[in-house]
């Protein structure tokens, strides 16, 4: 019998706060975290608003008491969220039975681009900062800080990276390879990604408006979120309070284009249907969908059409919380996993802000004001990435 996988801890840092409590407060007061850039020193500063974490690297180092090195923002954000998710419980777990599974796309690019910028302008450049360049660095360092040694890995599937890391960790626990895992993801804002998305012409110069007929692109964000996942047995052995469970998941590839989604939403449909099947649920059992909803013309159309098809006649309430956090890329799946857990725990659906006009291809509007209901048992969270990497996870109340 496969083990059930429970979420017993959550940690999050993003533009709307540095804890689960701050996050829910911002979400309930419909306060977006997207604004002008304060810390990223880019020439595009005054053009594109971003969902920046409101702390400098030195603030973060102070909060975390890590000063032995000049760390990448990616590592600092990941440690902040991973520590909140695990609290002080790890001392009671066998480190060899706990894993650290992260999702990440940008690695230590914040340091790498500064290094090459300094070289270019003839200034001092510290080559040891490149030791943090790869995506695996932050996982290694965070696992060391948390004293986790059972299994360590990092997934990079663009914007679905951390949905896949949660899925991988859940499968490892389900099959008994490990008993528990800190699973999630992280990405920090860099000029590399900002310019990359600008070259693709999909950044909005205003606050993004996901699923709106007049949407005009996405706002980039940054942050980290991790879940403490454990088997039903481990949760009971350690007397942990269970927030909800990872019920099922689907992963598929659109196999259509490196940066565009197919219009018929083949990949998204397969991912959502896969998640329903693996959860043993019917479309009518889903009580809320936390959309990928980036605010780009292509994503929202493809995702919207796939939902209409998968949930014909029973479209559940849905919204995109990227209007608060911005699109946090490799961290998005985990940030939205935490938000889904908060939805289930508190019985609150957080609205899609900046929404005005229904997309002409769709028959439903996203939730646009705070909705309290006690009947949210199953939440679907979508994460769709470049490369056609589509994943969908269902989180459920434990009854």
């Amino acid at each position: 019998m496969k083990q059930r996988v429970f979420i017993t801890g959550i940690g999050i840092i993003s533009a709307i706060g540095r804890s689960a409590d701050e996050t829910i407060n911002s979400l309930c007061s419909c306060n977006t975290g997207i604004s002008g850039m304060r810390f990223l020193d880019s020439r595009l500063k005054d053009i594109f608003p971003v969902g920046e974490v409101k702390y400098s690297n030195s603030d973060l180092s102070d909060m975390l008491s890590v000063h032995e090195n000049k760390y990448s923002r990616t590592f600092l954000l990941s440690l902040a969220a991973a520590r909140e998710a695990s609290g002080d419980r790890l001392k009671d777990y066998n480190p060899a039975r706990v894993g650290y599974v992260s999702g990440n796309t940008v690695g230590g690019m914040d340091l790498t681009e500064k290094y090459f910028q300094s070289l270019h302008s003839g200034g001092e450049a510290d080559i040891t900062s490149l030791l943090q360049h790869d995506c695996g660095y932050s996982a290694q360092k965070a696992a060391e800080c948390l004293n986790i040694s059972g299994y360590v890995t990092t997934i990079s599937t663009a914007c679905s990276s951390s949905a896949n890391s949660i899925m991988h960790a859940a499968m490892l626990i389900r099959s008994g390879v490990i008993d528990a895992a800190v699973a999630g993801g992280v990405d920090s804002l860099t000029k590399f990604t900002l310019n990359g998305f600008n070259s693709l012409k999909i950044l909005d110069t205003q606050l993004c408006s996901p699923f709106d007929e007049n949407r005009n692109g996405l706002n980039l964000g940054e942050g980290a979120a991790y879940l403490f996942l454990e088997s039903e047995k481990s949760a009971s052995d350690h007397m942990q309070d269970v927030i909800c469970e990872v019920k099922g998941f689907g992963n598929s590839c659109d196999a259509f284009h490196q940066t565009a989604m197919s219009e018929d939403g083949m990949g998204p449909k397969l991912a959502m249907r896969g998640a329903l099947k693996s959860s043993g649920l019917e479309p009518r059992d889903i009580h809320y969908i936390n959309l990928h909803g980036t605010g780009t013309s292509n994503n929202d159309l493809s995702e919207g059409i796939s939902i209409e098809d998968v949930f014909t006649g029973t479209i559940p309430p849905y919204s995109s919380t990227k209007s608060y956090t911005g699109h946090t890329l490799g961290a998005a799946g985990a940030i939205e996993a935490v938000i889904s857990a908060l939805t289930i725990k508190n019985g609150i659906i957080f609205p899609n802000i900046n929404y005005k006009t229904r997309m002409k291809e769709l028959s439903a509007d996203p939730v646009s004001s705070l909705l309290k209901t006690n009947d949210i048992r199953n939440v679907m969270s979508n994460s769709f990435g470049f490369g056609g990497n589509n994943s969908s996870i269902i989180y459920s109340k434990v009854v």
């Binding site: 910028q117 080559i127 995506c135 696992a143 040694s149 997934i155 499968m171 990359g196 693709l200 590839c253």
Partner: protein, 343 residues
């Protein structure tokens, strides 16, 4: 654990089949083993190929070769491990962003810079809508892909997955590796006197794996295990003994070890641990890179399929190996063990 291999494909330096002048531990000069690029049009439409970067082309070529070898047109899923991803395009985009002061227009290098573009381009080329993922975690990138395949095939043993690894070396990356300031801190591939242990390397290899034995299966992966050991022991015999005693890895009857290590004393200790098994320090043939275990797995497949006399390696007394252990360690923090046997 059942993971049967029925198809392989690779792009590497073509060693140890050719009698090339191997440079490695004994050389004081800075040395590199690069891939010999194949004639891509055998597996990739030239129109499609023109738009692809070198690492993606090599990966796609190896992937299609493995599928063709297994006689499969579309796998049920694709998983890639890459420790550093697409370095050429990352460097290209970064350089132009800095030189043009953030006023660039072409997204093509950015699009091909993402780690998942290899798995994704393979999926597009073979029209695979199934499971797709990419692991990038230093010395565990390929091993994690294998472990994911174990989990996927455990839940659906009738499925077949394409699993592989790709890493590339670039001149810019070599300049960094050579820089004494970097080398001193990273210690990557240098001994205490800053002599290279092996040539720096690169390569790609893909495998078609299924959960059940088929007519075409020629070997079986019997275990894949990673040990993350931040303060870990670096005595290889202790690591092996712990793996078998504490973690239950079956290390009986190993008759050939493909070791990622460079120390001849370690090699003799390992040989002794396995009652005189042959020990080959495989990085002589592929160079040092973080997904080199994929090369060692590919070499194991070649040995099982074609016989050890077809490869120019000194395998000691293992003239017809039946069970091979691949054993690698990166910075003593990332230790991996893969056992594979003839079927």
């Amino acid at each position: 654990m059942n993971l049967y291999i029925s198809g392989i494909g690779a792009v590497n330096a073509g060693l140890p089949f050719k009698n090339e002048n191997l440079s490695g531990g004994e050389s004081q000069e800075f040395s590199v083993i690069r891939c010999v690029e194949p004639d891509y049009k055998k597996y990739i439409d030239p129109k499609f190929s023109r738009r692809l970067s070198r690492i993606i082309k090599m990966g796609l070529y190896a992937a299609r070769m493995a599928l063709s070898d297994a006689d499969i047109s579309v796998p049920d899923g694709i998983i890639t491990g890459t420790s550093l991803g697409c370095l050429v395009d990352t460097g290209k985009f970064l350089r132009s962003m800095i030189e043009e002061n953030e006023s660039l227009s072409s997204p093509s290098a950015f699009i091909q810079s993402t780690h998942n573009s290899i798995s994704s381009q393979i999926a597009i080329a073979v029209s695979c809508n199934g499971y797709n993922s990419t692991y990038t975690n230093r010395g565990f990138s390929f091993e994690s892909a294998l472990i994911d395949a174990v989990l996927q095939l455990e839940e659906n043993s009738r499925a077949g997955f394409l699993i592989g690894a790709s890493d590339e070396i670039t001149d810019e990356f070599l300049d960094i590796l050579k820089n004494p300031g970097f080398a001193e801190y990273s210690g990557y591939n240098y001994d205490n006197n800053f002599r290279q242990l092996f040539s720096f390397g690169e390569g790609t290899a893909y495998f078609y794996l299924s959960g059940e034995k088929t007519g075409g299966s020629f070997c079986r992966i019997t275990s894949v295990k990673t040990f993350f050991t931040p303060d870990g022991p670096n005595d290889p015999v202790k690591i092996l003994n712990d793996a078998s005693a504490i973690h239950g890895v079956d290390l009986h009857d190993i008759d050939l070890v493909l070791s990622g290590g460079s120390d001849p004393a370690d090699a003799s200790a390992i040989s002794k641990r396995f009652s005189g098994a042959g020990v080959v320090m495989y990085k002589k043939y592929c160079g040092e890179y973080l997904t080199s275990v994929s090369y060692a797995l590919w070499l194991s497949c070649i040995i099982f399929r074609n016989g050890i006399d077809k490869v120019i390696i000194d395998a000691g007394k293992a003239s017809t190996p039946e069970k091979i252990l691949i054993f690698n360690s990166f910075e003593n923090k990332y230790i991996s063990l893969v056992t594979v046997e003839n079927v």
